[in-house]
Structure formats: C-alpha cells, structure tokens
Amino acid sequence: MPLVNRILNIFVYKIGFTNPIWISSFRIYGSLIFLFHFLSILPDFYTFWGQNAIVNPDIMDANIDNLMPTIYDIHQLINKYAALGFQTVANTIAIIYIISLISLALGLMSKISAAIALLTHLVLMQSINIFIYGVDFMTTICLFYLLIFPVGKYHSLDNYFLKKSNPENFDHGIFLRLFQIHWCLAYFFSGLSKALGPTWWNGEAIWKALNSYNQASLINPELWVNYPFIITFLGISTVWLELLFPIGVSVKNLRKTWIVSIILMHIAIGALLGLYFFSIVMILINLVGFWFPYFKTPTIFSR
C-alpha cells in the first residue's frame, strides 16, 4: 500500500522521535483529574443526581435527545424487570465511574476501563444536562481518546502483566498527530469566533467575563476598573494566541513559548473565572499533546 505509506510519511513519520511518556501521562494524569473532578461534587451528589434533586430527574430527562440514556431511562428499564430504587441506580453508576477511572489510571484493562468510564461519564452528564459546562465536554473528548489510543501499552499494569510493550514509533505517532490536529482545530475555531466578534478587540468581552458572578473567582473584578488597558490587552492576546495556535505549536522555536503562554491563559481563566477543573484539563491537554512528546530522553517514569 504505497499510498498509505506516503500519507503516513507526511503525517506521522515526519514527527521523528516522540517520547511515549505523553501517552502514559495522558492516561494517568487525565484519569486522576477526572476522578478528582467527580469527587469534588460528591458533597452535592444528591442535589444533582438524587431522587429529589434540585430539578426532578424526569424533568431533566424531558429536555434531551434520545441519543444517550439517562439514569432515569436506565431506572425505568430496570424497573420493568426488577424493583430497584432510582437512588440505587444513580449511586451504582457513580461508583462504577469512580472504579473505572482508578482502574484506567493504573492501566488495568485499560481499554475496558476507558470504555466504561466514557459510557458512565456520558450517562451521568446526560442525566444533568442543564448543569453541564465546558469541562464535561473536554472530559468526554479525552475519555474517547483514552479509549482509542493504545494507552495500556506504556507504564501500565496491563503492560506489566502481559508484557505487550511495543516501542515502535508508529503505534503512538499517528495517535499523537490526531490529538494534535484536534486541539489545533479547537483553538483555531475558538480564536476565530472571538476574532469575528467586536468585543474581544476592545476588551468588553473580558470585562464581562470577569464580572460573570462566580464565588470561586480569586480576584474581585472591581480591582480591574483602574486598569482598563490591561483588560483590552488580555482580550487581544487571547484572540491571537488561540487563532495562531496551529502555527505557534508547529514552529519548533515557537512551540515552548506558545504552550507556556496558553498555559498562563488557562491559569488566568481558572483564577479569574473560577473554572479550576476546566483549566487543569486544558493545561494537561497542552502538556501531553505538545510538550511531553518532545522530551529528548526518557525520564524515570518512562521505563
């Protein structure tokens, strides 16, 4: 298949040496972040996934497409055959999600764990569809990639027990390229939609975002009133950083500077808008996709 090999030459082999630490870091840190994200809402678990939740489960169920079942649907289905309480079903799905993430972090039956984590995550989020936000979509995307990438091949219990390590570059090279293309497109479209709106160029968008009421925000937005030029600068910088992201990370000399800038932007989003988990997930994506693969020498963790 010469055509396939030619395409692979362009898209994969030209990457050169890539350190497999990116793929194991993605699995381990990704799973742990998703786990802590879910654990962080456990004090309010019944408020969102309870029988008497803030919005009744049947009302939340009425709002959605039928592409993915909710806990309410699963409960209805089970009740055709056995009497089981709604809360039991919700708790069970949550426990399965937690166990699958721990198992994925350890690299134990990685593919199966990733598939279960993805499905349970989707069911949990679909069940509270009016309360989901950016980080939930990012989690879905990452869990999907953890399912299709060969994440169990490196630094995992699967590899330890089955000795299936395959150091051939192709195995993770093509997946790395897919991951990189995805996030280049994501940042590009994010930057494009900001660039098309007038408010990102004059700072009004950032000003409005800073004032979006959030108890978790670390800095009082009123403090910015005396520094409007900083707000305008932040708005314009965000547009350019995102719009030119595909170029920034493709040019070898610019890559590190660009990734550091993007990470700083995400730290600012976390601190100013209170979206901590969203920021942490985005920082992880940047590190595993554009920084870790280019480590020259294997670290102690990559053995």
Binding site: T47, L192, S193, N202, A205, N211
Partner: protein, 192 residues
C-alpha cells in the same frame, strides 16, 4: 490493513470536526449579526444535525463547538427567590456545584431573544422551551425552600440579568454600578 483503517478513521474524525466547527461558527456569526442564511447554510445545518453526526458527536465529545465566549460573552443571569421578604437561594456544599448551577443560570439567557414576537414565530418550539424553563425555575425555587419553615403562602421567584457599565464608559470616568434587570417573575403558591 490496520494502517489503512487508522488513516480512514483519522480522516473521518478530523473531517467531522472541521465540518462541525465551521458550520457552528458560521451559524453563530449569522445569528449574532442578524444576517440571513442562504441555501448552502441550510444544507450544512442539515448535515451536522444528521443522526450519524449527532450520535458520533455525542459519544466522541466533538459535538461541542469551541467558540467558548466566542463573538461575545453572555450576560450573567441570576435566579432570586424572595420569601417572606427575605431572599432564599439554593445552597451548595462545593464550588463545583456552584459552577454547575451557573450553567443553569446562563441557560435562560439563550431563550430571551424568543421573547420578541418575530423570533417566536420563526420557531414554533420556543413556547414549549419557555414552559420547560419555567418548570425548571419552579423546581429550583422549591429546592431553595426545602427544609425551611413555612411562614408565608407564596414565593416570588425572579430571573434577573446583571447590567454593568461598559469598559469604554469606565475609561471615560463612569461610576461602577451594578444593576439587576428583572426579566421574568413568578409567584408560586405554597401549600401549608
């Protein structure tokens, strides 16, 4: 063979990603600037709302557009319950729950444009959406009242938008005053 399948998947996945985001960006652009869509836009909209695209997008997560805060940043909405002359809002035990509740608050912003008659006619389902959101609001009010002593016979629930001065006005010396603009109010009776 494995390589071929991988490549086909890669092209399909990236292709869907590009189509999805291009169409969504275009649709938001037309909506934001009140521009008319053409037949090509209609066709593209049909494609990304095709069941294959939707199912694939749902399970892979690529259904989401990346225009977070794109074009413009939404205004901040608030749900405020008044009961016996005091405000009574849902209480949470974690910051994550606050963030999730914030998503609900901003959900209402999307339907505000349908308050205008011309938009309402353009989309027949908006009446149902409005009823649905009212029902959600009622649930939130009931939740906020849970565990509290019943002294009055009704709760006044209001949906407000945070109005703040523009940055350009602040540069020109305007005072920083926050105002809550009432959008909708309901009175819910409570059975004692």
């Amino acid at each position: 063979m494995k390589k071929l399948f991988l490549l086909l998947f890669l092209y399909l996945h990236v292709g869907i990603l590009i189509i999805n985001n291009s169409v969504m960006t275009r649709e938001t652009y037309l909506d934001f600037f009140n521009k008319k869509s053409n037949y090509f836009d209609f066709l593209c909209g049909k494609i990304i709302r095709n069941s294959f695209f939707q199912i694939y997008g749902k399970y892979t997560g690529i259904e989401t557009g990346y225009g977070f805060f794109g074009f413009n940043v939404r205004s901040t909405g608030f749900v405020i319950n008044e009961y016996c002359g005091k405000t009574s809002n849902p209480e949470f035990n974690s910051l994550e729950a606050e963030n999730r509740y914030g998503s609900l608050r901003s959900l209402y912003i999307d339907y505000l444009k349908y308050q205008f008659p011309e938009n309402r006619i353009a989309n027949q389902v908006d009446g149902m959406l409005e009823d649905y959101l009212d029902l959600v609001l009622k649930n939130v009010s009931a939740f906020a009242m849970r565990g509290k002593e019943v002294d009055c016979d009704s709760v006044l629930t209001g949906y407000y938008i945070l109005e703040l001065p523009k940055l350009v006005d602040l540069k020109n010396g305007a005072e920083l005053n926050y105002e809550l603009l009432p959008v909708k109010k309901f009175v819910y009776a409570i059975g004692k």
